[in-house]
Symmetry: C2
Subunit: 366 residues, 2 copies
């Protein structure tokens, strides 16, 4: 095979030192999680049984909420949370960021299935601020905040701003929902427990296949009657499967394994972002100093130039910096970096070599 005709994805897959993630998404993820599971372990059955009930209780406890319900996906869990708050208030508007998962990744499910009308707060590049929330009309049932805000590089408001937003919502009877797809990843930065953060919210969603690295699945947590209502909607959505244990067992396994490593992933992201920001003008990260295990790398170069640079770096140094680059304009692009178990395996010498090359390749271009 001619190395020079390979795609970025191929080059990344073949690179001995991929920088992001925990490892390949393959059947090994399942086999590892089931290694010590006895064949006699009973399945859960339509939301009942020890496997699902114990994990739900553990997660309710961790999140500091009375009740938690396991869902096959966050898409399902979050639409349902917003629907419940809408039904209870009799209001059909819900507020969130223009780059909210519901707005850009769910084929308009919130409108098509639930007839809810989003009110978009803040612009495409900034976080939702207290002033945005203060400007909300009165007919809004619920505000969704995503911590960290993934599509802008994983940014976070100051905790004091969060508290002020929560107090404002409480005062106006607007329910506050947490999109915590990457909540575990920001606990170290906030220096607070999940329960302390979740106490500001009426309902909370967390995911098990981002930083946790499970197979799929989500938890939706809140009061007991909120949880009970969410189970009715789970059945309606077709998510109340006879057996969810193929996701629950890995979720629990990798939660125990990786929750203690989240702070390290975050420290690693801060270190790696400094490498990028040391390259000079054509390269920068967003945020400049990460607050979680993730950030975005912005390059002042056409997407194709960036891809060629990444392929060259992978071939020459063995370091896989990115597997996919997104165009922003004709001469700007970005990619996402999420650190996990792989980063400590990248030799520092190789990493320095990769960044010297990146600087050369991008400056030659600029």
């Amino acid at each position: 095979m001619n190395k020079h005709t390979q795609t970025l994805q191929q080059a990344f897959n073949e690179a001995p030192y991929p920088v992001g993630g925990h490892g390949k998404r393959n059947a090994g993820v399942l086999l590892e999680a089931f290694r010590n599971v006895a064949a006699e372990t009973d399945s859960d059955t339509y939301g009942s049984g020890a496997i699902i009930e114990q994990f739900q209780a553990e997660m309710a406890d961790f999140l500091g909420k009375p009740s938690a319900v396991f869902f096959p996906s966050g898409t399902m869990a979050q639409q349902i949370a917003l629907r419940i708050w809408s039904d209870r208030s009799g209001k059909t508007k819900v507020a969130y960021h223009p780059l909210c998962h519901m707005e850009i990744h769910e084929q308009n499910g919130l409108r098509e299935l639930h007839r809810l009308e989003p009110v978009l707060l803040a612009d495409m590049t900034s976080l939702i601020a207290l002033a945005d929330v203060q400007g909300l009309p009165d007919d809004v049932a619920c505000l969704l905040l995503e911590l960290p805000q993934r599509e802008i590089g994983g940014q976070l408001p100051a905790f004091e701003e969060l508290e002020a937003i929560a107090a404002h919502c409480r005062g106006r009877g607007i329910k506050l929902h947490l999109d915590g797809a990457r909540l575990f990843e920001v606990l170290a930065y906030y220096g607070r427990s999940a329960a302390e953060i979740c106490a500001l919210f009426d309902s909370v969603y967390v995911s098990f296949y981002k930083g946790i690295g499970g197979i799929a699945g989500a938890i939706l947590a809140g009061d007991a009657d909120f949880a009970a209502e969410s189970k009715v909607w789970k059945r309606r959505h077709g998510g109340d499967l006879i057996s969810l244990y193929p996701y629950i067992i890995p979720a629990r396994h990798y939660f125990k394994e990786r929750l203690p490593k989240m702070e390290q992933y975050y420290r690693d992201a801060v270190e790696l972002a400094a490498f990028y920001n040391g390259c000079g003008g054509a390269v920068s990260t967003r945020p400049a100093v990460p607050v979680s295990n993730m950030f975005h790398v912005h390059l002042q170069a056409p997407k194709e130039t960036a891809e060629r640079a990444m392929i060259r770096i992978a071939e020459q140094t063995g370091v896989g910096l990115a597997h996919h680059v997104n165009a922003v304009s004709d001469d700007a692009c970005y990619y996402e970096v999420s650190l996990g178990d792989r980063y400590p395996g990248v030799p520092k010498k190789k990493l320095e070599e990769a960044f010297r090359l990146l600087e050369q390749l991008l400056n030659k271009q600029a």
Copy 2:
């Protein structure tokens, strides 16, 4: 433990010769299906990748449809099928049996999520007949037929009646959807291929955890644009999981293993029903002669009497005839029997003993 205070479920679980099913629903079902799966096998990713695409292609081929889409559940797949036919026709009514899964097991998802209005055909004890369909109003988008009709014991219309219903629907522009949750189980009775039966329908759903005995999951099949549209709705429902392989690999494994056994399960059900019907007046099966691996046992006795009889039979003969009994009235009850891998392991002598005892216990009562 005092044997005489145990519940029917406990007695059934402890019985050495359970009559129905393939085996316990436990982690062994997953471990067995993954025994020969290499750790390096790539996950599917949001509906793409070899694992999901190959299985979908195989099932499309088997069902004789251009396209097939894997779903986490039949609840999701069928609501979506009916929504698509409704959207295309601009009509919001859909017709089905009063004991359709959508009507009794889905918390009204079809109405609450999709605003579709069911028209109920036939009564609680009979199949939908051509005359019922001929009486449908013109504003019906789709008719759903369940083959076999599970909640009335797994009954089937004659194939000629099916053909007549299909022709009538085609003539009137009413789409015909197959709830084939147990389609594989009736191929032997009809003496036709799945493709021959599915040819009468515009869309088809089949399940992988009934007779097939997988973990969960469903296939929805139809034309290419129907399938493409169903994927958009799958995303909206929150069913387009990043990884569905934990269900797909077992579905494929057990499909290959058990499809060839379906005819035997059916023959076994005919044999077992004859045992029941030989007990005399207080005991009968519905249908009298099964057409699939399933039937219902009706007892002219209070539910509690029936439960005590089942517990006694399990304790005395080791044969587990039922694990759950449903009351019909104060002095009538029924339970469902679905045969699978376990039945051939029940010694005929023990079975005869069990039925002699059932006859005694029920006649004493009557």
